[in-house]
């Protein structure tokens, strides 16, 4: 059983970017079962920018599943953004999940934007001013919804999709001082509470690609500035050689 997952985050689309990803995206039906988008689809979260996303990522011939990012919230037009994306056939997850029938089995994807807060021993606490408590509760609520969504799916392969990072590993390269704004350990805890096979996130533009949760779930930061290609492709299955990275095609082009 192999399920082929393409993923990218932080494409930050606006009119000036439309068309840049499309040639690579047209190849997706040949190399992936699904495209997962890890949030920050737009620059400011306007309806007009969402239409750019719909144009670039709509009608691809593979299912497209996304979570939103902090940039997609900037203009307080989330309902309009979600509607434009869904009208283009893109599934938007927020504390929800979806199961896809792929050739290699049933792929379950649970998604949530997530939030900051930091990582074990260096994180914000639910204590003190109301603003601080509201911050931390935003994180814990989000992690709880991710855990519920993960547990709700009946599938062969379970993937967690977030915008914020669930582990500090994939932040390497970012200034340590801003880690609490880039992710939260509670997201990792939610991922570890379920039989998750892979966790994908974005948001950390200067971070690094690979990490693992304390429970052993592989984590990949697919932010576009990190992967420096239109998307990454992961073949997830149980018969493959450990950690082998192989050629996508024999053409070498």
């Amino acid at each position: 059983m192999v399920i082929r997952i393409a993923a990218v985050g932080d494409v930050h689309l606006d009119e000036d970017v439309v068309g840049r990803f499309r040639p690579a995206l047209e190849e997706l039906p040949d190399c992936a079962d699904v495209l997962l988008l890890a949030g920050d689809l737009t620059r400011h979260g306007t309806e007009a920018e969402a239409r750019c996303v719909a144009q670039e990522f709509g009608g691809l011939g593979v299912p497209v599943i996304t979570v939103l990012g902090n940039h997609d919230h900037q203009c307080d037009q989330v309902p309009q953004v979600v509607k434009v994306l869904e009208d283009a056939g893109i599934t938007v997850l927020e504390g929800t999940g979806v199961v896809l029938e792929c050739a290699g089995g049933r792929l379950g994807v649970a998604g949530v934007k997530g939030f900051g807060g930091g990582f074990a021993g260096r994180c914000a606490s639910d204590f003190g001013e109301p603003e601080m408590k509201a911050f931390v509760r935003t994180t814990t609520d989000s992690a709880d919804r991710l855990a519920q969504a993960l547990h709700s799916l009946d599938c062969d392969l379970l993937v967690a999709l977030t915008h914020y990072a669930p582990v500090p590993d994939t932040l390497a390269g970012e200034p340590l001082e801003i880690y609490p704004f880039l992710g939260a350990y509670q997201l990792g805890q939610a991922i570890d509470s379920a039989p998750t096979a892979l966790a994908l996130h974005g948001h950390a533009h200067a971070g690094s690609e690979r990490g693992v949760t304390p429970g052993g779930v592989r984590v990949r930061n697919v932010a576009h500035p990190v992967i420096k290609q239109a998307y990454s492709v992961f073949h997830v299955g149980d018969h493959l050689d450990q950690g082998e990275v192989s050629r996508l095609s024999a053409s070498g082009t």
Binding site: D16, V17, H71, R218
Partner: protein
């Protein structure tokens, strides 16, 4: 730009750096959080990766408009959007 330091006529470089950082994040025409501002002897150097050539130029223009006396150079790149040539296998 170093002439600002201690002359009493302009803000210290560290505040300029902070202000550029916030300008780039909060200016609706830019909205970039991933640009690094590095102080060098010759002035400020901007590093980072953006999604279009238009954005790269806009960032330099905005910073130059806001700090006309500070020499600013840019090493900002436009992120490649090619299809991948390799996959990662995860057993």
């Amino acid at each position: 730009m170093t002439q600002h330091r201690g002359t009493g006529i302009g803000p210290p470089d560290e505040y300029i750096e902070a202000e550029i950082h916030r300008l780039l994040a909060e200016d609706p025409a830019v909205a970039e959080q991933g640009i690094t501002v590095v102080r060098r002897e010759t002035g400020l150097v901007l590093y980072g990766e953006v999604e279009s050539a238009h954005r790269r130029e806009e960032i330099v223009r905005r910073v130059a408009d806001r700090f006309p006396d500070v020499p600013v150079t840019s090493e900002i790149g436009v992120i490649r959007t090619e299809a991948p040539t390799q996959i990662e296998q995860l057993p």
